[in-house]
């Protein structure tokens, strides 16, 4: 048993050595659920990154597919002794390999579109807060207009306007998301802008660009990080929805949504695995990202800190 004074002393010593990042990590792992979410998320990212090496089969190499193996239930074996742990689709494609590749596409599109939206929305939000005046009200009016329309409607409009294709879907997702970033970063930049360090930087006659990027931006990041994690999950879900509806990614870049759509017609006859397992993969990816995002919000929120 240690006395209270000893414990206090140890905590003080620890807090001197602790970097903010380490404290953040310690806070984060206090929640077992969030820690589990992070582990699962890392596993999902690992699978997506190394899909070609982890998959038992290259699902898009037509030579390695055998049509006779079509729609086999989970656990069946092929003529060459390959075990289809999650069954096969109508083309005789190993579902596990297809899911690994699909995860790769879904995560890549989700992450890329979020990063692009973060850069675009962040820049506009920062400019709006820093410059103010007409520029600000023009930018924020567009943000308000866009946020008043449901995301799926904006996506539908853009898909109808732009047509299909990987790049176009990413563009549509960027347009759907940027307003959230712009609003978030402007809100925190408006608070930071009035602080003394910005005034000090102005007195040093630093350029506006330098103040915005080196002084204002780093201090606005915490809420943006939270929005970004949640938005990646949203982007993945929206892309999957569009692909499921047949107006998302083309058949050459099969994401999880497209895999689910492909299996949908066979579900009525009880061949559930073609849709079910890609669906589970999508669920795991989205839920793990949300768990991490939720915890980050709690950890990064200064109001909740002791």
């Amino acid at each position: 048993m240690s006395t209270f004074a000893e414990e206090q002393a140890r905590e003080d010593a620890a807090s001197i050595e602790e970097s903010p990042l380490r404290r953040l990590a310690a806070d984060f792992f206090e929640s077992k659920l969030a820690a589990a979410g992070l582990v699962v998320l890392l596993a999902v990212v690992f699978v997506a990154l190394f899909a070609p090496w982890l998959s038992p089969q290259n699902p898009y190499d037509l030579a390695s597919l055998d049509l006779l193996d079509g729609r086999l239930p989970p656990g069946s074996t092929s003529a060459e002794g390959l075990v289809y742990w999650l069954g096969t689709d109508d083309q005789g494609r190993d579902m596990m390999s297809a899911i690994f590749y699909g995860l790769r596409t879904s995560l890549a599109v989700g992450a890329l579109s979020s990063i692009a939206a973060l850069v675009l929305g962040g820049a506009l939000g920062l400019i709006a807060a820093y410059v103010g005046g007409r520029t600000e009200s023009a930018i924020m009016r567009i943000v308000d207009l866009q946020l008043s329309l449901p995301a799926i409607l904006v996506a539908l409009i853009l898909v109808a306007l732009l047509g299909h294709g990987v790049f176009k879907i990413i563009l549509a997702l960027v347009v759907v998301q940027w307003a959230y970033y712009a609003r978030t970063i402007r809100a925190s930049a408006l608070v930071e802008r009035r602080k003394e360090y910005i005034e000090a930087a102005r007195c040093l006659a630093l350029s506006d660009a330098r103040i915005m990027l080196h002084h204002l931006l780093p201090n606005c990041l915490p809420p943006v990080i939270v929005v970004a994690t949640v938005q990646v999950a949203h982007a993945i879900a929206l892309e999957a929805t569009l692909s499921f509806l047949g107006i998302g990614l083309p058949i050459t870049e099969p994401s999880l949504g497209l895999l689910i759509a492909n299996g949908f017609e066979y579900m009525m006859s009880g061949k559930y695995w073609i849709s079910f397992f890609p669906g589970i993969a999508l669920l795991v990816a989205i839920v793990s990202i949300n768990l991490v995002g939720d915890r980050l919000r709690d950890v990064l929120n200064p109001r909740l800190q002791k």
Binding site: I152, L153, L161
Partner: protein, 325 residues
């Protein structure tokens, strides 16, 4: 108040006009519908005749003004595929979508409100944690995924409920509705539940947060101190005070529900406007796409406008803040 309404009306009109230009230009830019509609063997003269018949040979700005003038008369062009007025196609299918959307909103209130009240009143029970966790899932899961799972469990494995179409309909004042026949209700349950799930989660969250906030207020303590039953305190004093934000948010959600019915209608083969637009996008049926987008944007803007005005009527604090702005 009048100033507020006029300002909002102007904003809505500008937004609608901007959308019409955007949608028109954009839809114009995608593909040439003549290529799809006419047989590949057709010669130049035939193609030219078809192009002229569809009005596609005129300059872009002229096509836009023709479109705008016609739109003002309620004519949004004829569907290339059905050869019927696009607006009529949509209006025919609108009741099905609206029925689905309002059933979903009803479910959200009927299921979400009691659950949210329970979580707010007893936040520490196991059941509350379960409901709260479920509402997080309800938020993050894509609608189409939930729809597929509903079909898999209730239609394929259990065989309890049908998963496609509207079932038997009854004509009321010339509009077909499903909810008046037993078969129609059975067909309505799964799609309505699917569409309402994220809305249920939303209502649970709002109701729980509101209840937790309100139950510490002095007027609640006073109501209990004067000996009112727990049920009466919740029904009269808690519920009334948490309803304004919930009603407002749900009002704003009507537009989202109509837009998201695209997904639910496709999965459950529900013959509404959502199913129509997906088919029209795949065959590039321009007038229908334009008509759908214009109508949906119009509906969403009008609903937002109404909710805004209603909100400021209900809550004087908002009205005063708006008047100062």
């Amino acid at each position: 108040m009048t100033v507020l309404v006029i300002r909002r009306l102007m904003q809505s009109a500008v937004m609608l006009l901007a959308m019409s230009i955007l949608v028109f230009l954009g839809v114009f830019a995608i593909g040439n519908p003549v290529d799809i509609l006419i047989s590949p063997q057709a010669d130049q003269a035939e193609i030219a005749r078809a192009t002229a018949a569809l009005g596609l040979d005129k300059p872009l700005w002229e096509q836009y003004f023709v479109f705008l003038a016609n739109a003002a008369h309620g004519d949004l062009g004829r569907s290339f595929v059905f050869n019927e007025p696009a607006l009529r196609l949509i209006v025919q299918r609108l009741p099905a979508t609206l029925e689905l959307a309002f059933s979903a909103m009803l479910l959200a209130v009927v299921l979400g409100l009691p659950l949210g009240l329970y979580v707010g009143l007893r936040p520490d029970t196991f059941l509350s944690r379960l409901i709260a966790a479920g509402s997080i899932l309800g938020f993050s899961l894509p609608t189409f995924w939930v729809g597929i799972m509903l079909i898999l469990v209730f239609a394929v494995w259990m065989g309890w409920l049908p998963s496609t179409g509207r079932g038997a309909t009854v004509s009321v004042l010339g509009v077909d509705v499903s909810f008046l026949t037993w078969d129609g209700i059975r067909h309505l349950i799964l799609p309505a539940l699917n569409l309402s799930l994220s809305r249920i989660a939303l209502v649970i969250r709002l109701a729980a947060a509101g209840t937790r906030e309100v139950s510490h207020m002095d007027y609640i303590k006073f109501a209990r101190a004067k000996g009112l039953t727990r049920g009466r305190v919740v029904r009269v004093h808690v519920l009334r005070n948490i309803l304004i934000p919930i009603v407002t948010v749900l009002g704003l959600e009507i537009g989202a529900v109509i837009a998201f019915s695209v997904v639910t209608e496709t999965i459950f083969a529900w013959p509404g406007i959502g199913q129509l637009i997906i088919k029209s996008i795949t065959v590039l049926d321009r007038p229908v796409i334009v008509a759908y987008l214009m109508l949906t944007v119009f509906l969403v803007i009008m609903i937002n406008l109404l909710v805004d005005i209603l909100y400021s009527v209900l809550d004087p604090r908002v009205r005063l803040a708006e008047a100062r702005a």
